[in-house]
């Protein structure tokens, strides 16, 4: 009987330490705190992200252009070194360009006595 009584007593003591109201309060508080934190974080990220990206250098880094690679995009490479352009700029062997200073300039007009 004594044992049973002790057991009963111990059984009675445990519910006193982990009362269902307290458990419920802790659980509810944790859930509310978690949900509230997520909500606050979400609000801050969506509402103030543009301002933060301008002011915060760390955020600015996120906005930087991609790091250049050694391989240029195909379109640009073709444009910059187009052989046709290089060929057009250089005089061809068949038709050497005469030095401009040696060519006779065409007069724009002629000075003469009033007429």
């Amino acid at each position: 009987m004594t044992t049973i009584t002790k057991a009963k007593i111990m059984t009675k003591q445990r519910p006193e330490n982990g009362a269902p109201g307290l458990r419920l309060l802790i659980t509810t508080t944790s859930i509310v705190a978690t949900l509230g934190g997520w909500a606050l974080l979400t609000y801050n990220q969506s509402g103030a992200s543009s301002a933060a990206s301008q002011a915060d250098p760390l955020v600015q880094m996120m906005d930087l252009a991609p790091i250049p690679t050694l391989i240029a995009p195909p379109g640009q490479a073709a444009q910059a070194f187009a052989p046709s352009q290089v060929d057009q700029a250089a005089p061809s062997f068949n038709q050497p360009a005469a030095p401009r200073l040696r060519s006779v300039p065409v007069p724009v007009t002629t000075t003469r006595s009033s007429r």
């Binding site: 040696r102 300039p105 065409v106 007069p107 007009t109 002629t110 000075t111 006595s113 009033s114 007429r115």
Partner: protein, 317 residues
């Protein structure tokens, strides 16, 4: 390059801008209207021009426009620089020599077999109004009034063309490099857009189709004065339009034409006229004494004489 050609001040005009920009083209299109405005102020052939009104009121102070005041000021400067050889008070002498109407009309008369009449023998030098021109020609720049000696009249023909070429080139040059050719008096605003000088031919009075030289002008102007074109016969004698104030008659000179390069077309025009009146020897000395000028003289006997600095300005192979 855009160009515009038009007739004004009794001459063929040409203006050019070295640009394809619409603003430069728009400004170029205004050039004929500028010359029309100036001609209405400065022409002696228009009875209702401002100059004609002033010429009818000699002896009295006349209020004048800023344009007329400016050109008279340029004419007075030319008189000082030429030591009196280029004088604006030569209209009576010009008319006495037969240049009493526009040259187009004189040419038409000559074609019809009629010579200009003039009153060459009827006027004394004093009556021509140039015996002592400095005595009473007075421009008051503050009140902007002009007083001519009694009986004297102004001719601003050559000076007006040089002044107009300079002014038009300056206006056009605000939008693009420009060249203005006012009947042979040429002004450039600066080098061409590519930094190179403007190539300008120098006419040969004996062979107009074969230029004597090719000038390269970075800035300033060039003008040619000659008695090879504006000339006529009066009483069997050849007359021309360049009056020597010392005799009050067309200059007796061995120079047929002279082209001068100068810091402006106005200065070039006055210098060319001075050299023609002085004659070849004194004219070359006068040019060589002025480092800002260079000239090429063509004599009546077809000799061609460059001044000391002429070759600095021409194209050479």
């Amino acid at each position: 390059m855009h160009t515009v050609h038009f007739h004004a001040m009794g001459c063929q005009m040409m203006a050019a801008v070295d640009s394809t920009h619409p603003a430069a083209q728009a400004r170029l299109d205004q050039a004929p209207a500028w010359f029309e405005t100036w001609e209405q102020r400065l022409s002696r052939f228009r009875p209702d021009s401002e100059l004609s009104q002033v010429n009818r009121s000699s002896g009295k102070a006349q209020p004048v426009s800023s344009v007329l005041a400016e050109v008279v000021q340029a004419a007075l400067a030319a008189r000082r620089e030429s030591e009196g050889l280029v004088d604006p008070l030569v209209l009576n002498a010009l008319e006495a020599a037969g240049y009493d109407r526009s040259f187009d009309q004189i040419a038409d008369l000559a074609q019809d077999g009629c010579a200009p009449q003039g009153v060459e023998t009827a006027l004394t030098q004093q009556e021509r109004g140039i015996s002592n021109p400095a005595a009473s020609l007075h421009l008051d720049t503050h009140r902007r009034t002009l007083t001519l000696p009694v009986g004297a009249r102004l001719d601003l023909g050559g000076i007006a063309k040089g002044w107009a070429a300079d002014r038009a080139a300056q206006r056009l040059g605000k939008t693009a490099p420009a060249l203005v050719d006012a009947g042979g008096d040429i002004a450039v605003s600066g080098p061409q857009a590519n930094g190179r000088p403007w190539p300008v031919g120098v006419a040969n009075p004996f062979d107009p189709d074969r230029p004597l030289d090719l000038l390269l002008l970075y800035r300033g102007g060039v003008a040619t004065s000659g008695r090879d074109y504006r000339r006529w016969q009066q009483n069997g004698a050849w007359q021309h339009h360049i009056i020597d104030p010392r005799s009050a008659r067309p200059a007796a000179s061995d120079v047929l034409s002279v082209s001068v390069i100068a810091p402006s077309a106005r200065l070039a025009e006055a210098a060319a006229k001075t050299v023609l009146i002085l004659g070849s020897q004194a004219g070359l000395r006068w040019l060589d004494a002025r480092p800002q000028l260079a000239g090429l003289l063509v004599l009546e006997d077809s000799q061609i004489l460059p001044s000391r600095l002429w070759h600095n300005h021409i194209w050479r192979n």
